[in-house]
């Protein structure tokens, strides 16, 4: 019996396995350079508008109250296509910023600070999906602040230190839950670069 066909078959099988191995690994290696897979980010759908969603979701009481107390609220309530970043009461308490939103920024003397902070969380005129966010380098907030977006593995970082944990589609846009308040005043008035898509 000739041994050549056995060797040839074995060689072909080895090459196939090698190609398969390389293709699987290249996907794993380069996935983070392109778009986040966002598999761990919980996705919800709601028939409500963004304003209705805020009223309905009991986890967002502190953020909702602060947003409604700010001048940004009328734009959020009346917008037809928009994106809002929100943070739960629990996350605010972990961050140590619940006191800021529940007490200090609700005072008349701090109205401007509250407006500025809330403006960072609101993107008017654009309903941006989680996948679209992961393809962008930055987004322009209502306060004209350019907020950078960084994709690392399957996480999407918004600004300096906030990560998206959950996302919801409302009837007039998208709500993305973040684990920290968005804030980076040094980026104010810095125009977002023209090519904001990866």
């Amino acid at each position: 019996m000739s041994i050549c066909p056995v060797i040839r078959t074995g060689y072909r099988a080895t090459v196939l396995v090698f190609i398969l191995f390389i293709s699987i690994n290249s996907k794993l290696l380069f996935a983070s350079d392109r778009v986040a897979t966002t598999t761990h980010i919980k996705e919800l759908e709601s028939p409500l508008s963004i304003a209705g969603f805020l009223d309905d979701d009991q986890r967002l009481k502190i953020f909702s109250k602060a947003l409604k107390s700010s001048d940004v609220w009328s734009h959020v309530r009346d917008g037809s296509e928009e994106t809002l970043f929100v943070i739960t009461d629990a996350a605010l308490r972990i961050e140590g910023s619940a006191f800021l939103l529940e007490v200090v920024l609700l005072k008349a003397e701090n109205t401007e600070r509250l407006k500025k902070l809330m403006a960072y969380h609101f993107l008017p005129g654009e309903a941006i999906t989680i996948n679209e966010l992961s393809r962008r380098d930055s987004v322009l907030s209502y306060g004209e602040g350019c907020i950078p977006i960084t994709v690392a593995g399957d996480s999407i970082q918004i600004g300096l230190a906030s990560f998206i944990t959950e996302t919801a589609r409302a009837s007039n846009g998208y709500i993305h839950f973040v684990d920290r308040l968005l804030w980076q005043p040094y980026e104010d008035n810095h125009p977002c670069s023209l090519s904001t898509s990866r």
Partner: protein
């Protein structure tokens, strides 16, 4: 002869009534104890907050202008990112804007040379792009000997000159400049450059935070990380909340710090009542 029949309570009913009574009294006593314990905790919070703000006679001392910070020392890019994140977090809590002067000096000797010939030592680190963009907050990550020379040249207060002269194992300090109108206008933070990363991070976080008006430490604090303990630790939620309260525009710079502290304990008192 008519006899009135009186039902005697059964022993079981008596036992049940007694148990219910005991439970009521116990619950009441426990609630009282909890209430006293909570009140004590809130008083302790007031005491610690007032101490950290400089004592009950101290006025509100804080920044009002933009903080332009510069970093001096040969440090890792990840540490620079951490420093920026600390300033960003503080800015969120205080509303004070900040800017990093685009003139980080990786060769610390040059800082010493620069301040040697200056009339306004703190203002010598200026950005390349704009002449009015000079550092009013300098973070120095350098060795103790160089810091001692800097402390003599600026000059910093004698306590800092002496601290850096000794062979003590001093890790870091902050030195703010406060005007007669109780405004912080400059600050210098020094951290030794030979610390392990966790201690370096702790020092940077703590000294930068304290430079914003939380000037004192409270030993063995229940709430605050400013507790005179030299060990790796994290900023607490109370640290952030006290800073938030200090920069409430509802209170004016130079007025009593008492409302700043009381506002925080009142928040927790209301929270306890709500959760009851």
């Amino acid at each position: 002869m008519n006899t009135k029949k009186v039902d005697k309570p059964t022993p079981l009913l008596v036992a049940l009534a007694c148990t219910a009574g005991i439970m009521l009294v116990t619950n009441w006593a426990l609630a009282q104890e909890r209430s006293i314990r909570n009140e004590r905790a809130l008083v302790q919070l007031d005491v610690e907050s007032i101490h950290i703000l400089g004592g009950f006679r101290n006025p509100i001392v804080r920044w009002s202008s933009t903080v332009n910070f510069a970093i001096v020392g040969n440090i890792r890019p990840s540490t620079i990112q951490k420093i920026t994140a600390i300033f960003n977090e503080i800015s969120l809590m205080t509303g004070i804007r900040y800017h990093q002067v685009d003139h980080a000096l990786s060769k610390p000797d040059r800082y010493l040379e620069a301040i040697g010939g200056s009339q306004q030592p703190h203002l010598t680190l200026c950005g390349r792009s704009a002449s009015n963009n000079c550092a009013n907050f300098v973070v120095l990550v350098v060795n103790q000997e160089l810091m001692h020379n800097i402390a003599l040249s600026l000059p910093l207060k004698p306590v800092y000159q002496q601290a850096t002269a000794r062979k003590d194992n001093i890790h870091c300090f902050f030195s703010p400049t406060v005007t007669s109108s109780f405004e912080i206008t400059h600050s210098i933070v020094w951290v030794r450059n030979d610390l392990e990363v966790p201690m370096l991070d702790t020092c940077l976080q703590e000294e930068i935070y304290q430079s914003f008006g939380l000037f004192n430490d409270y030993s063995n604090s229940h709430y605050y990380s400013f507790n005179n303990v030299v060990a790796p630790k994290k900023i607490t939620a109370f640290d952030k909340q006290l800073l938030t309260s200090l920069y409430d525009a509802g209170f004016s710079t130079g007025t009593s710090i008492l409302p700043v502290a009381i506002q925080l304990s009142a928040y927790y008192r209301a929270k306890l009542l709500r959760d009851r």
